[in-house]
């Protein structure tokens, strides 16, 4: 069964069909790319998948479960985590606490237990700390765990966002332009990290990206969006050589 199955997904804002009859199937463990010119509707697709917008038509299934029209919170609980095009960290909280917040629905104790510092508090907090540091270590952020997230350099903020998303233990990870604003060295490093995340956490990843080097370097399959409609899909090399795609990007 496919990890993500999207059928006939559509949304309009007024008369504008931002996404129209969009279909997507991603198998477990795949590294999938969603590309297209500016304004093609890529981020809108992400917002539909994560429940920020409710689709006017279509069905979204995650691992066989229908998640169409559910709230962002419930979709995350069902197993979809994301990062944002413009970084959205908890800036005034330490790096460690950003990741710990991600474990919110996996390590629980009541508010009263927290206020009264019952024995369970220390036990659960210890586990959260340990798991969080493990994830931070994967992204080589462990030595900066005590800094405020807003004080991290840009590239590390992007990594921390991925770390926080992974803390929610998702089945599907959505990355919205993870390489935006990065220099070539940082991008190369990021590609390694994404590949490593897929292998280490056995993750299914869907990413939006403009950087063709990154896309052709790590994505196994691609879907190309243009004006809210699917222009092309298939294996990366096929899609990138598709005359229609080249025309959409470079003009005829």
């Amino acid at each position: 069964m496919a990890m993500l199955e999207v059928n006939n997904l559509s949304i309009s804002f007024g008369g504008l069909h931002a996404v129209d009859d969009f279909n997507l199937t991603i198998e477990k463990g795949e590294l999938y790319g969603l590309i297209g010119p500016n304004g093609a509707g890529k981020t809108t697709v992400f917002n539909l998948l994560t429940g920020v917008y409710k689709p006017s038509e279509g069905i979204i299934r995650l691992d066989g479960v229908d998640i169409t029209g559910k709230s962002t919170m419930d979709i995350n609980k069902a197993g979809v985590a994301r990062t944002f095009q413009n970084i959205r960290l908890f800036k005034d909280m330490p790096v460690l606490d950003n990741v710990k917040t991600g474990f919110h629905n996996h390590y629980k104790y009541s508010t009263l237990t927290g206020i009264l510092r019952l024995p369970k508090y220390r036990r659960v907090e210890n586990s959260i700390d340990e798991r969080s540091m493990e994830i931070l270590k994967v992204f080589e952020l462990d030595s900066e765990a005590d800094l405020l997230a807003g004080n991290l350099p840009y590239g590390k903020q992007r990594k921390l966002e991925i770390a926080r998303a992974l803390a929610t233990e998702p089945k599907l990870l959505l990355l919205d332009e993870p390489a935006a604003g990065m220099n070539p060295n940082e991008t190369a490093e990021l590609m390694e990290t994404i590949r490593f995340v897929r292998d280490r956490f056995d993750m299914t990843i869907l990413l939006i990206e403009h950087d063709m080097k990154l896309v052709s370097g790590i994505c196994e399959k691609l879907t190309v969006l243009n004006f809210g409609r699917m222009l092309s899909m298939g294996t990366t090399s096929d899609v990138l050589n598709d005359p229609a795609v080249i025309a959409a990007y470079l003009g005829e």
């Binding site: 919170m73 908890f90 909280m93 508010t111 237990t113 927290g114 462990d142 030595s143 405020l148 998303a165």
Partner: protein, 370 residues
Amino acid sequence: MRDMGNNTELVKRMRRKTLRGNLLNYVIVLGAYAILQTMVMTGNISSLLKGLLVPLCVYVIAALSLNLVVGISGELSLGHAGFMCVGAYSSAFFSNAVGTALPDILRFILAIFVGAAVAGLFGILIGIPVLRLKGDYLAIVTLAFGEIIKNLLNVLYAGIDSNGLHFSTKSAMDLGMEPTGRQIIKGALGISGTPKNSTFTVGIILILITLMVVQNLINSRAGRAIMSTRDNRIAAESIGIPVTKYKLLAFSISASLAGCAGVLYAHNLATLNTKKFDYNTSILILVFVVLGGIGNLTGSIIAAVILTALPEMLRFLNNYRMLIYAIVLIVIMLFNWAPAALDMRSRLRSRIFKNRGSGNGKEEEQNGNA
């Protein structure tokens, strides 16, 4: 790359840092208590300052509770005096209704719970519709709440007789009580004859409990969830945090702590009326929080003490009193928020502690922008 040993070391260091900050607040409160209580015992205290001790505790608790809303959950409440009012009236009503049926201590403890519970309930009632909205609606609604509750209690009459409780919003006659019944809430005259159970010691204990609740909440799963909704609502939703639930949690806990402050206030006065719980008091509490540093509990305590005591201490200046008060406000403001002052403070700190000192100024600046 570091090994696991260093990792746990770092986590431990962070915990120690938090613990130090938390303990500092307890130490400040207990230190102030030791000094002032010694002064009271040895008789070295002016009657003016002695009369201020309980109100100081009231405002410290109010400031700490408001900081939970403004600093930790990132919402604005302009009606915290309203929650104090609800706590004060409900507890004073309880104490008068029970009378001598219960021993003093037990009755007062129950009165504190009554005040906190009723204020917390109002917090939930207001929070449920308002905290679902994005934006500054909470400020507008709490502002209205503070005024409504004041006017409502101004026309409320209540009494007790052998048939139970009687309420009316018209006049004492409309209560329809037996001749032996006792009238407790007398409209605009308020409640008189509340037992004076509030002492400085009780006030300090309540401050310590408030500190414990707020500090332990901040450093828990719920606290992280609350702060995440403050820092970035969309990101919080995306990692599965129920935003409204945690904003409501912070707001209702804050309301119920403000209710505790009200209980302390009510049991310190012979006559309780609504005059003191107006808009100005809500703003005053907000001034404590802003001047003490939004999200900074130590700052709230210090600002509440200084700004409550100062106008009284300056009485000898007569006409110049409020002028000096205003200047002090401006000076504190500059000391807390001006970039040059922040710079100077971080330089001083790095000279004293020598580690990670340069980063602190920046952190504070960012907290301020939040």
